[in-house]
Symmetry: none
Subunit: 204 residues, 4 copies
């Protein structure tokens, strides 16, 4: 399905391409995103620096591709039959990805880099925040259809809260996301999604 066909200038060396991605993932995993400089990646991949710059405009773009290999972008929420179940399933999936692959470190590195790179920040929002909103919206919609919760009014906010909690754990919590955390977060999101209907008295 991918364009492996007769593209004219695709003289791109598949070998070099893969070697770069592998080296990037490996170094990020072993030494951290920050230590994965273009120079070290090129050296470990046995590749010229120019080859990297030819195919990726910068380190972030390279690692976005690495991340895409590790975390399937078409991550879809399986239906476990309950809202909390769906949320926990999703969290467990992320948890294992972040603890068993370099994906966690890469993501936190990308977020870090985006703090001094507005363009990258936009890409991260488009690539990671927006899709998560969609997934969470799907999960909530499914729950509403089941009658578990009222129709979701603030699905995007719930999605962001999900991302916020996960990324907070990633950036400041040592990447653990243990069972307790997942449980608490799923519970919290459940009540937030449920409570949208009978609002508390306005505060001001």
């Amino acid at each position: 399905m991918t364009s492996t066909a007769i593209s004219s200038h695709r003289r791109r060396s598949a070998h070099a391409h893969e070697a770069v991605l592998a080296a990037a993932a490996d170094i990020a995993g072993r030494c951290g995103y920050g230590s994965a400089t273009i120079e070290t990646i090129a050296a470990q991949a046995g590749v010229g620096k120019q080859t990297i710059y030819r195919w990726w405009p910068n380190k972030a773009a390279l690692f976005i591709e690495v991340y895409g290999r590790l975390v399937p972008p078409g991550l879809v929420a399986e239906d476990t039959g309950s809202l909390a179940g769906d949320l926990e399933r999703l969290l467990r999936r992320l948890s294992s990805l972040y603890s068993e692959t370099p994906a966690g470190g890469i993501l936190s590195g990308l977020v870090a880099e985006a703090q001094s790179n507005g363009e990258l920040l936009g890409q991260l929002r488009d690539a990671y925040v927006a899709p998560r909103r969609i997934i969470v919206r799907q999960i909530l919609q499914r729950a509403a259809n089941r009658g578990e919760i009222p129709p979701p009014e603030h699905a995007d906010f719930v999605g962001d809260l999900f991302s916020a909690a996960v990324w907070f754990q990633l950036l400041l919590g040592g990447r653990s996301m243990d069972a307790t955390f997942r449980q608490q977060l799923a519970d919290a999101l459940f009540v937030v999604a449920s409570g949208g209907g009978r609002r508390r008295p306005r505060s001001r």
Copy 2:
């Protein structure tokens, strides 16, 4: 009562000290944390680089002090009479600090830098995450005393959720934290804190 007695052979120049902090804050505010190099700070402050390295081991330590000047560390939750009110008050305080001073950019820069600096990460947890937990716990306790919510069981989790949402906004949301966001977040934390009692059916 403080130990001014002994001697402390460090007659740190108040002028240089202040000039460095001011230059750091200014540059971070105008050009971003990442562009605030030790060299540019020293140059703008009219100070030798060594003077900076003499008093701060690295850029992060310097900006922790800058941040401390901008955001009073003894930030205490005022009692507005209701849980949601307290939360919104706190959020509004942070919101204005982050939008009107360089504090927001500095904080996100520090978090970014901590991704490749384990020691700094620990400091941030101690300096910013832990205190926020305490504040949130106070707020929740007060609400429980009022009878608004049941006794808080997972105050730390709620505190972290608060931090997570705020920092997510800071790191990925363009630092806005507008009224809607603050409202939604306060509502959400309210129901999470309330909902601890009547748990949803277990998912697995």
Copy 3:
């Protein structure tokens, strides 16, 4: 015949190389060896500091090459038909090199630097003292063949005396080496070389 074959992955930029040497010579000539810092040389040459450090381990090595350009290392003693003539010819050659090019200042700078750099001192001995001995020995041998002087017994000493006098002038005499000085030195070396035969009575 030169080893251009193998590979030598150093495609040193001829332009940068020349620019550095030219800038070094120029600055040393205008401001003195001591003022020719790597930074100023790099700046004037329009070159990165790293480019200098890539090809020369330190300032001294760079200036040894600069000196080699100014003072042809294969400096050979022409035969003027007499010992004193040969010596004067050599002195005149050095005199003009040292007064018309930065070579004099560079040499004195190198000697100065060698006082705190044992390795450099060895290089200077090998590169400048030893060759001068050889040249002087050739001159003396030629004179002996002509019958001007007896066979030279202490040619190395005479060579060193030559170097000593020249360098003394260079280091402490304001680099003048005027005609009188050259005359006196040639005379002195002549009598030293001649007088080796009929020794004065031993002193003790």
Copy 4:
């Protein structure tokens, strides 16, 4: 004879003064003139830097005083009864001073520093080159009075040749000045001083 009298502001601490000179000599002896920075000297002497700068305008001035302590400035040529004897006596004196005290290293360091310090160069000429000329002139005059040599015409040149040979040894010869060297130099100066009368045929 030293001015210990009632000088008005000579509140100078004798202890500090001596400690500085001793530390300077010690460090120069152990680590070389170049490693003897004002900072290390002050530290080893247990003295503030300012105390050094108060009494000596710069490092060179300090070491000129140190040198003056090691090498008695009123060094006078003893009469051994023969020209060569006088010269060898003088050489032996210098040789032992330079090999047994830090004086040799200090002198070479001063000469090195003078290459980038015109004022210092003048001082060295006045303090070390000129006096040597006088001493050598005395020796030559004495020899002429004895009838050993004709009246000295170029005494200054002979004196400079003496200095040149000694300093050449000091700066480039590893400070040895062994017996052979001293013998050869004394011989050479003898014949130069003698040969002034019957000049070689003019070379041009």
